[in-house]
Structures are given as C-alpha cells and as structure tokens.
C-alpha cells in the first residue's frame, strides 16, 4: 500500500505549476484577454493552480496554428506519424506515476485506477493507432478491364475536440490518437472541471510534436467550447458529454455542413441471470464484482452499470451478497492505493447526485445501502464524497432513467429473458450493457437483443483499444476506440481513371 504525496509536496511524483497558459503552435501562450480561472482539486476542494480562461480570440489563434500545421502534418508518411505516436506512448510510460498522480489530483479518482487503467490505457491507445495507421489501406475497384476506381484516405485537416472531465487524459487520448494518426491537426478544449492534467501531458510530449499539430485551449464551455464547435474553420467536431450540448453541437455543425461524432452517455443495464448463483465459485465472485462496478470512477462513467436487473428467482440472496460487496468498498484519500472510491469531480456534481437520491426516495425507491454524502476528516474535509448507494425500485422511476453520474445503482427484478430485454431496452440510451450468465445461448440472445453499442458479457468496464465503443439511440454517433475511428477523421478521395484511349462516342 502506498500513499502518494499531493503534487508539489516532497516525494510526490507530480508537480503542478502555479499557472497555465494555452498551448498553441507548440508554445505556451497567455490568453488574449489575460484572464485565468482557479482550478480546485475535488479531493480537498482547495485551488491548486490557475488556468487560462480562453475565449474566441484564443480559439482563433489556435485555429491559425492548426491550419498552418495541418498541410505539412497531413503529408507526412504514415510511418512518420506512427513513430510520433509511439514516442508519445513511450514518454507517457516513462512518466506513468507522474501522470497518474496528476490525474487523480485534478479529477478526484483513486490513484489505483489512474495507475492501472487511465494512463496504461491511454499509452496503449497511442500504440494501437500507431499500428492501425500503418496497416490501413485504401482500395482499388476494377470497374472494367480499362477503368479503375482508386480510393485514398485523406485527413480532414483541422478538427475540434471537446473533452469530458471524467477521464481527462484517457478521453483526450481517445480523440487525439486517431485524429493525429489520420494526419489531422487538432484544437482541443479540455473540460473546465479538469483543465490541468492534460497540460501536464502536453508539457511531457511537446517536443515530440511539430508545432501547431496539437493545440490546447482551456476555458469555459460558453466562452471557448462554443467558438470552437461553431467555427467554420474546423472540418469536424468530436464531443463527449450530454444530450442538450450534443444537439447544440449538431446544430452548429449543420450551419457549417460539417460532420460530428458524439458520445452522450447512457443508463446502462447490468443483467444477472439466475444461473450465476448456481455455485458459490470464482465466477459468482466475479459476478458480484461486476455488480459493484457501478462505483468505479465514483460512477462518473458514461457506461456506468447504473441499472442492475436481477432475475427474480435469485434476487434475495444475490442482492444481499451485492450489498455486502458494496459495503466493502473502501472510501478515502484518492492518493492512497488502497482507496477504491474517491471524490466526485465537482461540487455541482455532488449536489446533483444528492438531488437524485432525494427524488429516488420520493418516488418510492428504497435505499438498501448508502444514500449520504461522506464527510472525510482532515485535509479531505472540503472534498466531494458520496457513499456507494443501492436503490431498489422500478424501471419507470427517474433514478432508472437518468444518468446520475455518481456511485448510485438502481436495482430491479425481471422474470425471464424476454422481460430482461424489455426492461433493458426501456431507456432513451444505448451505450453499454452487461450480461452475466453461464448459459452461452442466453448470453448470445441477450447480447444481440439489447439495443446498445457495447454489451459486456461476463465482464464489465473493460476498455481495450480494438473494441469499438459508441452508442445506439440517444447515446450518440460514431465509434471510438477502434480502427474504424480513423475513417471518422478522414475524407475519401476517389480517383476514377480510364486507361482506354478510345472515346465514349457521345460527341
């Protein structure tokens, strides 16, 4: 067990500067209007750095830099771009602890997750797209013996990316790696809740990238995100967030006739069939861990398994075991590697979670465990902590229909597989789902019947590169985390070539 010192303290692997400017054209550039905003850590509620409060003027500077860099970057060979991505991955690996502790401090998540998941996954993601771009090929269509259609992949040019706060470095990487591999220049706007850890990453890798290929402008959504999303100078916008902003970004994109990719969240069902309880074995233990995954990252995951559907015949025993497993989750200092659940990312998220715990009870749902804010003492007294909470209720209730984005799971019963499918699909969203069973026929049937882009089967919350991730229904448009994402960042150029010397004969 290790307890890391906070960034900047003696012995800590991470250190934050007192102030950060925007990263534009390979340099640290003060915001045009000279304003900065304070960035608190949700672990203590205390400000630890201040960050540029970018505006439309800074976005324009970043777009200038990106437009200057895009043609040259787009012409580099796939081999060269791949090599840059591999170097970024190596550099991140050399500084894994630094990035993990910096990420925990900015976001509030436990360092055991950033050490074992966030940062290693981000490193692997760069390597995956370094490989994918080397292996990508265009195509040739032989239309007849003298006419050939060649299809080339070309970069879009300059793309805008708006990053969420729940996995700041990993979500930035999900967007950056394919865009860079495909030969685009990027203007990236981190979330204002977590603006700083991405800048630690940029400090580490700045020398590996040609100036202007990656530009980071911080600021508030309305002041910096909107000018980026609505700019006619970006060829595409990628956004992870919620539905209203997703619609607004589509609206801006429609005005400029630009494509978007959107990842807008879900209300993912996690389904436990009766056969999981046939034996109290290793698999049953794994199943209970699968239930408890709602608390991973404090529930701040778009695919949080926030609805648990348990077959009626095993309900009482299974939920008793699940409550026990949930109550064993260790809450405390996120910088302690023994801590399993850390702080919610911001005060307003904390308030939102508590407001949903309130309406859940008003609707008649029963709290089986948790349900309260946690006040940790000492330095953590000002942090934003919530108990892992299990509600028992009905799928029509709002706590079953809205993404609370906290460590809250809503549990209900189902009778048979058809009933499970019906409840699982009774939602506006379709991002993730989980199926737990020893019956492979049931697993396959459920997996195909659930309207969601990702159905984890006998696992949950795995995010390896090379498994496509994205939503059905209102959960969004596009698929990240897979080589198919390259095409979301590319144009198709068709050369239609005649090798015949003969005229057609029309004129």
């Amino acid at each position: 067990m290790t307890v890391y010192a906070p960034p900047g303290q003696p012995g800590s692997p991470a250190k934050y500067a007192g102030r950060y400017d925007n990263f534009i054209g390979g340099e640290w550039v003060p915001p045009v209007k000279g304003q900065y905003f304070e960035n608190p850590t949700p672990i203590t509620g205390q400000t630890f750095t201040e960050v540029a409060r970018g505006t439309a003027e800074d976005i324009e500077l970043a777009l200038d830099a990106a437009q200057g860099a895009a043609p040259g970057w787009g012409r580099t060979s796939a081999t060269d771009r791949s090599a840059v991505l591999l170097k970024i991955a190596d550099r991140m690996e050399q500084h894994l602890e630094t990035l993990a502790v910096a990420e925990t401090w900015d976001n509030g998540k436990p360092v055991r997750e950033t050490l074992a998941a966030d940062i290693p996954l981000a490193i692997d993601h760069f390597r995956y797209f370094a490989a994918a771009i080397r292996a990508q090929e265009g195509s040739i269509g032989e239309l007849d013996d003298q006419t050939v259609a060649y299809h080339f992949h070309e970069p879009l040019g300059v793309v805008g990316q708006i990053i969420p706060w729940n996995f700041p470095i990993l979500m930035a990487t999900w967007k950056l790696a394919p865009a860079l591999a495909a030969g685009n220049a990027v203007v990236l706007k981190p979330a204002e809740q977590t603006p700083a850890s991405i800048l630690v990453l940029m400090e580490l890798v700045a020398d590996l990238l040609p100036p202007g290929v990656v530009n980071v402008v911080n600021g508030f959504g309305v002041e910096a995100g909107k000018p980026l999303a609505s700019s006619p100078r970006v060829a595409k916008v990628a956004f992870t967030g919620e539905t209203t902003t997703g619609r607004l970004i589509m609206q801006y994109a429609s005005q400029n006739i630009k494509p978007v990719t959107l990842e807008l969240g879900g209300k993912s069902p996690n389904i436990f069939l009766e056969d999981v309880a046939r034996a109290r074995d290793e698999f049953y233990d794994k199943t209970l861990e699968g239930f408890t995954m709602f608390a991973l990252n404090q529930g701040e995951v778009c695919t949080c398994p926030s609805r648990a559907l348990i077959q009626e015949s095993i309900y009482d025993q299974f939920i008793a075991d699940a409550v026990q497993r949930t109550e064993a989750v260790v809450q405390g200092n996120p910088l302690d590697t023994g801590t399993m659940i850390g702080a919610q990312a911001s005060n307003d998220q904390l308030e939102k979670i508590l407001s949903y715990i309130d309406i859940g009870q008003q609707e008649g749902a029963k709290i089986l465990t948790g349900g309260e804010r946690v006040h940790l003492g000492g330095d953590l007294a000002g942090g934003y902590y919530v108990q892992p909470t299990i509600f028992e209720g009905e799928n029509r209730m709002r706590i079953f229909q809205e993404e609370i984005f906290g460590p809250v799971v809503s549990v209900t019963r189902f009778t048979d597989i058809d009933d499970a499918v019906k409840i699982a699909n009774d939602t506006l969203y379709g991002l993730g789902a989980g199926v737990w069973t020893r019956d492979l026929h049931a697993a396959y049937h459920l997996g195909r019947a659930i309207q969601a882009g990702r159905v984890w089967t006998n696992c949950y919350h795995l995010y390896p590169a090379h498994a496509a991730f994205g939503g059905y229904k209102q959960s969004g448009i596009g698929r990240e985390n897979h080589k198919m994402m390259l095409e979301h960042y590319q144009q198709t150029k068709n050369l239609l070539v005649s090798y015949s010397p003969r005229r057609l004969g029309f004129f």
């Binding site: 204002e192 508030f220 995100g225 539905t243 307003d348 939102k352 407001s355 008003q362």
Partner: protein
C-alpha cells in the same frame, strides 16, 4: 380556479437569471440528459438552442425586474422523449456553487443551475390534465 405549473425557480436562481439577462439578453432553458453534465438544465440566450417538434415546453418562468428593469419570461424546454419519464415530477431550478456545464451561460460565474424535483400531487396531476 387554481393554476398549476411544472416548473419553478428559487429566488437565488431568479437573481442569477436577472444578472445573466442583463449581460446576454432574453434567456431560455433546455433540460439535458446523458453523460457528464447531463441531467442538468442548460441556460442559453433565447433562440440559441433550436427547439422543435421533438421538444415540449414545460413552462415559462416569470423573471421580472432586476437592475436592468427588463421584464419577461424564461421558457423551460425538454425533449419529448425525456418528458415521458419526467412528467410525474415538478421541477425547481436552483443554483449551487459549481464548475462548468456544457455551454450553459452561468458557468464562468462559478455557479451551476441545478434541478430539484418533487412528485406532482394528485391535484396537480389532474390540473395538468394527467389524471
């Protein structure tokens, strides 16, 4: 005859709306769903967010007065699909200290609009034509 509404606003949130209106002009809300800052109300300049047949107007907040002496209402919208699951609850727009939230106008002020909910009473349900 009693009039019934689905939405209300706290005095603190109303004060914030007056301040935002002085800076940005007439305002609107659209209730979000989904990831991250979802399940929260988004405040925009009126007309910034295009509503259509896939939205329902929950009500209009009467926000009169304020230093700029502009009178007027703030419409509160939600998607029809989301309303299917929310229609039995009354919503009060409040404000808390916070950090960011999509492109909502209040975020740079270090505060965030928040929805507080309660169940509609039987009388309110009847009055709103939902009995």
């Amino acid at each position: 005859m009693a009039s019934f509404s689905r939405v209300a606003v706290t005095p603190q949130a109303a004060d914030l709306l007056r301040r935002l209106r002085a800076e940005h002009g007439p305002l609107m809300f659209h209730q979000s769903g989904g990831c991250c800052d979802g399940s929260s109300p988004m405040c925009y300049p009126l007309g910034e967010f295009v509503t259509g047949p896939s939205d329902v107007l929950l009500g209009s907040l009467e926000i009169d007065g304020g230093p700029e002496r502009v009178d007027g209402t703030v419409p509160v919208w939600m998607s029809v699909a989301q309303f299917e699951y929310w229609s039995h609850t009354h919503l009060t727009i409040d404000v808390v200290p916070g950090r960011g939230g999509g492109f909502s106008l209040e975020a740079p002020l270090g505060v965030r609009f928040l929805i507080r909910s309660r169940m509609l009473t039987d009388e309110e349900m009847a009055g709103l034509g939902m009995a």
